[in-house]
Subunit: 337 residues, 2 copies
């Protein structure tokens, strides 16, 4: 029910992915009548798609605490309950990020050793090696310890999914030198500099993220969210400039026609292809789609969930985090340097 | 002497701008022998270019406090002294940003009512109306009051330079809703929401910066610096993708040839064309060039200084800030909401 578009995007995207993956079963969670109506006159395998009614929905501007307290039958709450009870293996939502995170944390709890789950997504780079950035917006007032845990989780994720033995982890900063940065980053660098659990390689600046020398970039959720959205903004800007330039006259339109196959390489930076961020640090799979996602982008978020299920990500992270937990002597039971 | 390249970039850039502006006088500040050597065999109007020797230079990784304390004859210190004494109307440097800011603040002091100077620069947008973003890295642990002052200065700058009557000022945040954001942004929004001094229009998200609906975007220096550099990183990435795609075969090279005049429209997002950020909140003009700037980009930073001198920016900001200061009843003599 969430996102800027709701069922008119979520339902057709679901049907598309259902068609593509013959083993996939989907549960559409939300207002039964609305969903039923959206499914009318659509051809699909009814044995693999069911509707689970939820009488409430969390508004995009609702506070997470309010959603938790008074929306116990919201579509996102019911969907996450299905993950908790084992009736679903993953939950995908385009709804209110804060409420989704709070609900997921409340219902699923965090993995042992993890204070705060983070939002992580992959980005393309020049070197063709994807980079993972976290946190992308779950924690907007992080502490150095949180950044430390994000670094651990990001490293485990990169090694679990991409089979990178010792992923390179860097902290996002505004310079390379030790003196650069705010207090948060300097403290996190101190913590990370002392751990042997991961391959911490120092600072990375904003322009270097896309060079592809780093497997995991760690930052506070506010900074990560700005990084994500600014990147999208620049891509849309350039796409706009190209469109304008190529539609100026019959000649430019002709050039556009022959250029089209070449310009296809720009698809590598198409944000839709990277839609579907993962909530990491939970014992279940929760995928957050961009609120403004259109059909193709939302379909990609569902596919991201499928990958996470197939690769058994939470379990693998849990095991590796547990090992790190044993390594790091800690009285609190949290991962600490 | 500063930046990644030093005199080999600064000297030829200076000569280029000197040629373009017949009324311009330049003082090259730094090691006399090094600069003399860089000028050898170059044709230029010697009556408009002099060398001012400075025996020291601030390293790129030197702490601002160390530079202030023990580099009293550094090139940047001597250059800013020339502005202070009135022998120069502006200082342009590609050196250590933190040290340049600390030195400028120490030597020139801040304008009455301003706690902290900020770094501001203009960015192109889809709507062709430039947007100013501040702070871009002078203050990496800002308070809400600092953001409030940045908003005031940015608004005054936009109205002074672009003759916009009531510039639209927005706070960079990770969502539009009141509940979104970190504590800093929420507090700053409170302060700005209560002032009538400027046209505060709420939050702007990272992807909307480049839409061009906002004249001034205000953020903490850490976030602003990441915004600036991530933007550059994406532009370089896309430039790289295009270069690669167009050089794949004889056919793509041919298409590249006819596409070239069309692709020139991408120059609008060329970071070199926007090099030269302004230190705002000081009674003198100090322009910071990107450390990695090549000749054309550094020349643009010098031209930015010329614009600031011609438009008499610090004086205009000082007058407007003084008026705001009178408006806002304040015991501390600072601009407060």
């Amino acid at each position: 029910m969430g996102g800027d578009h709701g069922p008119p995007v979520v339902v057709p995207a679901s049907l598309q992915v259902l068609k593509k993956y013959p083993c996939l079963h989907l549960v559409l969670v939300g207002d039964h009548d609305v969903l039923q109506k959206a499914l009318q006159n659509q051809a699909y395998d009814a044995s693999r798609l069911i509707i689970q009614h939820a009488s409430q929905q969390v508004q995009m501007d609702e506070s997470p605490s309010h959603a938790l307290r008074s929306k116990k039958d919201s579509s996102m709450r019911v969907a996450i309950n299905l993950v908790k009870s084992g009736h679903a293996e993953a939950c995908v939502s385009a709804g209110n990020t804060g409420a989704l995170m709070a609900t997921a944390r409340f219902v699923l709890k965090t993995l042992p050793g993890i204070d705060r789950p983070a939002i992580v997504s992959t980005f393309p780079t020049i070197s063709r090696k994807n980079v993972r950035i976290l946190d992308l917006g779950a924690n907007v007032d992080s502490t150095a310890e949180h950044l430390f845990q994000f670094a651990i989780m990001g490293s485990v994720l990169a090694s679990a999914v991409d089979n990178i033995q010792t992923p390179t982890v860097r902290l996002l900063n505004i310079g390379h030198e030790d003196i650069k940065g705010n207090e948060l980053v300097k403290q996190a660098a101190q913590l990370l500099g002392h751990t042997k659990a991961i391959n911490y390689a120092g600072y990375v600046e904003g322009d270097q993220i896309y060079e592809g020398d780093t497997d995991v970039v760690v930052c506070d959720g506010f900074v990560g969210n700005v990084t994500l959205k600014v990147s999208e903004g620049v891509i849309i800007f350039i796409r706009n400039l190209l469109k304008e330039a190529y539609s100026r006259s019959w000649w430019t339109k002709l050039v556009a026609l022959v250029s089209m196959p070449i310009l296809k390489s720009l698809k590598r930076v198409d944000p839709d292809r990277y839609n579907g961020a993962c909530f990491i640090g939970l014992p279940g799979i929760v995928i957050k789609s961009h609120g403004g996602a259109k059909m193709r982008a939302f379909a990609h978020a569902i596919e991201e969930a499928i990958v996470q299920v197939e690769k058994n990500i939470p379990q693998r992270i849990s095991v590796e985090v547990e090992q790190l937990l044993k390594l790091s002597s800690s009285e609190t039971g949290q991962i600490k340097p």
